[in-house]
C-alpha cells in the first residue's frame, strides 16, 4: 500500500512519454519489421509453388474442358472429355488394375517391411548389414536392376523357373499371362520399395519408448501381442503417413508398365497413368488425358481423406 502510493506520487510514473499517435506508428513499424522474415522465407516458396504447382494445376483443370492446347490452340468443349472419360472401358480396366496393384503392393510391402523391421529391431546384431542389404535395390544402377530382373524371370534361364522346373512344377510366364504380369510388377515394386519401408518402420519402432515395451513384457504380453497392441497403435500416425505416401506413389504406377508390358497382356497391366500417357502423347487426345489426370488427382485426394479418417481418428479411441 505504501509502495503504491509512493509510486503514484512520483511524477516519473504518471506521465506517458509517447503520445498515442507515436505509439501507434511505432507499433505498426514494429509489426512491419516482424513481417520481413515471414515474407522473406515464405516468398520464394510461394513463388515456386505458384509457378510449378498452382499454375499447372489450374491449367490442367482448364485443359480438361478443352481439346488440344499443348501443340495447338485449346478449344472449349465443356464436359465432353469428362463424359468420354466416364464411359471409357480401357480406363475402367486401368483403374481396376491400378487399384488391385495399389492394394496388393501396399499390403505386401507394408506387411513384409513391418515384419522385417521388427525382427531387425529385436535383434541388434548384424542390423547394419541387413539395413544396407535391404536398401540395396534402391541403390543399384538401372542396368544391374535389369540384369537381376532378367536373371530371375527369364522363361528358360531364370532362377525362379529353373527352381520350378527342378521341382517338377510348371514354369511361369511372368509377363505374358494374367494375373502373373501384374503380380510380377507388384513383386518388382515390392523388391524396390521394401528397403525404404523397412528403414522407415525400423526408425518408427526404435522411436517407441523402450519402457512401453518393457511394461508390456511385465504385463505378460508376448511378442505378437506387444506388436499388435503396443507397437502398431504407437506407430499409427507413422502408418497413416506411410499409407498416404504409398497411395500417392503407387497410384502413379507407370515405369514398369511402360518398359515391361505396355499395358499388356490383354490390358492386364494397363494403369491409369499409362492410360493418360498414351492419350496425352501417342494419341494427342489432350482433353481426355487431362480430364483423367484431374480425375486421378481427385481420387487420390479422396482416398487420402478416407485413409486419414480411418487411421487418424482411431488413435483418439482405444482398442
Amino acid at each position: 500500500m505504501d509502495l503504491v502510493e509512493q509510486n503514484l506520487s512520483d511524477p516519473d510514473w504518471q506521465e506517458l512519454t509517447m503520445s498515442d499517435e507515436e505509439f501507434r506508428r511505432a507499433r505498426s513499424r514494429y509489426k512491419l519489421r516482424a513481417l520481413v522474415p515471414v515474407v522473406g522465407f515464405l516468398g520464394p516458396f510461394l513463388f515456386l509453388w505458384s509457378v510449378f504447382l498452382a499454375t499447372p494445376m489450374v491449367w490442367s483443370i482448364w485443359l480438361s474442358f478443352n481439346t488440344g492446347g499443348l501443340i495447338d490452340e485449346a478449344k472449349f468443349v465443356g464436359l465432353e472429355n469428362w463424359s468420354r472419360m466416364l464411359s471409357n472401358d480401357e480406363l475402367v480396366r486401368s483403374l481396376k488394375n491400378t487399384a488391385t496393384y495399389v492394394v496388393i503392393a501396399i499390403f505386401v510391402v507394408f506387411s513384409l517391411a513391418l515384419l522385417i523391421a521388427s525382427l531387425l529391431n529385436s535383434n541388434k546384431r548384424g542390423q547394419n548389414f541387413f539395413k544396407v542389404a535391404l536398401y540395396f535395390p534402391l541403390l543399384v544402377p538401372p542396368i544391374m536392376a535389369g540384369m537381376i530382373f532378367f536373371f530371375l524371370t527369364h522363361y528358360d534361364m531364370g532362377i525362379i523357373n529353373l527352381v520350378l522346373q527342378a521341382m517338377n512344377q510348371e514354369k511361369l510366364n511372368f509377363l505374358g499371362d494374367n494375373p502373373n504380369a501384374l503380380l510380377t510388377i507388384v513383386s518388382l515394386e515390392v523388391w524396390r520399395g521394401l528397403g525404404f519401408w523397412v528403414l522407415f518402420f525400423l526408425a518408427g519402432l526404435q522411436s517407441i519408448p523402450a519402457d512401453l515395451i518393457d511394461a508390456a513384457k511385465i504385463d505378460g504380453a508376448g511378442s505378437m501381442r506387444r506388436f499388435r497392441k503396443i507397437s502398431i497403435p504407437t506407430l499409427r500416425p507413422l502408418l497413416l503417413f506411410a499409407v498416404i505416401i504409398a497411395l500417392i506413389f503407387n497410384f502413379q504406377l507407370f515405369d514398369s508398365v511402360q518398359v515391361l508390358t505396355k499395358g499388356g497382356p490383354v490390358l492386364g497391366t494397363t494403369s491409369v497413368v499409362w492410360f493418360i500417357y498414351k492419350r496425352l502423347f501417342a494419341f494427342q487426345d489432350i482433353g481426355l488425358a487431362y480430364a483423367t489426370s484431374v480425375g486421378l488427382l481427385l481420387l487420390v485426394v479422396v482416398l487420402t481423406v478416407v485413409a486419414y479418417g480411418f487411421l487418424g481418428k482411431k488413435s483418439e479411441n482405444s482398442n
Binding site: G68, D72, D89, D177, D255, L260, G264, L280
Partner: protein, 441 residues
Amino acid sequence: MFLAVLGATALVVGACGGGGSTTPDTQAVVADTQAPVTEDTVAALPFEGVTLTFGKAPHGEDEKANWGEWLPEFEAQTGIKVELTQVPWDQLEALYTANFASDTPYDVTYQTSTHLTLFGERGTFEDLTARINGADFAGDLPNFPAGVLGASTYNNKLYGLPFVVGTTAMFANLDMLKSAGVEVPTSDVELVAAAKAIIADQKAKGNKGVLGFYTPRTVADYGWYFTLQDVHNRGGDFLSADGKTALMDSKEVKESAQFAADMICKDKVQPANGLYNREAAIELFKAGKLAFIQDEPSRVKTFEEAVLPFAWDIYMPVGHNGKATQFATTGHWAISAKSKNADAAWELVKFLSSAAFNSTYNQRYGFVPARLDADASGGNEKLARNASWVAVWDGLKTSPKVSQLLDEYAKALEAATSCKTSVDDAFASAQKGATEALAQG
C-alpha cells in the same frame, strides 16, 4: 525409370515406330564442322552461318557415331551447321510433344506414318507439297513411287518427305529345314506344316525345346507391325479406304488374327505370348533354337556380323493362298512449321532424302529406300532382295488417328493370340474403340 534398360537390349528398332528403346540420349550431338572449307568458298555458300536443329530416334546404337561422319559432308556443301538430338524411342512422343509445343522446335525431324499427321494436323509441320513440286526437286520427284507418296499424304497435305519404307522378312534356319527335309514355305499353311515337321524332326534328333516360328503379336513388341501385312494378303484392312470407317471386325482382319492365334494356341508352332519377347526370340534364333522368325531386315547386318553357326536366309513373309505382300509404315523427313530457317531445313531434307544418302544410310540399317534410284543393298544380295519387295509394298496410310486405331488393333490382336479371348470378342471391342476414336473430332 530404371526399367528403361530392360527394353534397351534392342539393338535395332523398327523403321516406323516399331522396336524397343535404345539408350536414352537427349543431349545434342553436334556434328563438328571440321570440313575443309576455305575462306573464299565461305562467301559463296547460301546458308552460311545457319544452324539447324535435327531430332531423330536412332535405328542403331552406332547411329550417333555415323551421323558424325555423314553430316560434315552436308555442312561443308552448304555452310549449315546441324545439331543432332537423339530422341529415345520409348520417350519419343512425350519429348516431341514438349518440343513441338515450344517456340523452338527441331527444324527437321524424322517422323513415322504413325506420328506424321498426328503432329502434322496440329500445325507442327510444313506442308511440303509446294517444295516437292519446285524446280529444285524436279529431278528427284519422279523417283518417288506414287504409292509411297500417296500413303504419306493426308487431305492433300504432305507433312514429310518419304525416306524409307518398312518391310519385314522371314528369317529361316536352313539347316533345320534341310534336316527335316522340308522346302521353304510360301504360304501360311505350308509355314505351319514346315514348322511342325521341323519341331518333330529336331525332337527325334534329341533337340528338345526347338521352336517353330516367332513373330511379335503383343502390344509391347508392336505385334501390329508384323501382322497387318497378313490382313492385306487377305485383301483387307482395319480402316476403310476413305479413312472414315473402322473395319476391325471385318472378315479379313479376324481371319488373319485367327491364323496368328492358331499358330500359338492350336498348332503350337509359336510359343505363347510373353514367354519370349522380341529380343529374346532373336536370341533363340541366333542360338539355333528357332526355325523361322519374322522380323525387320535390319537384322540381316547383325546376323551377318554375329556369324550364325548355321545356314540362314531371308524370305518374303508367307501369305494366305500364296499371296504375299509387304505392308508397313514409312519414315519421313519433316520440317517444323515454326522453323526460322525453313529453306535451310529444306536443303537438309533434300540431302537426307537424296539417292546417295539414302543408299548410305540403308546399307547400314537395312530399310527399303522410298525412292527407286537408291541402292541400299551395297552389294548385299539379301538386302537387295529385301529392297525388291517394294514392288509389292503397300503403305499404312497416315492419319492423325492412326496411332489410336493401331492401338485398338494391337490390343485386340494381343487378346486374340492370348488363347483366352475369342477373336470375335477381341475385335468387336476393337471395332467399338476404333469407331469411338474416329467419331471423336
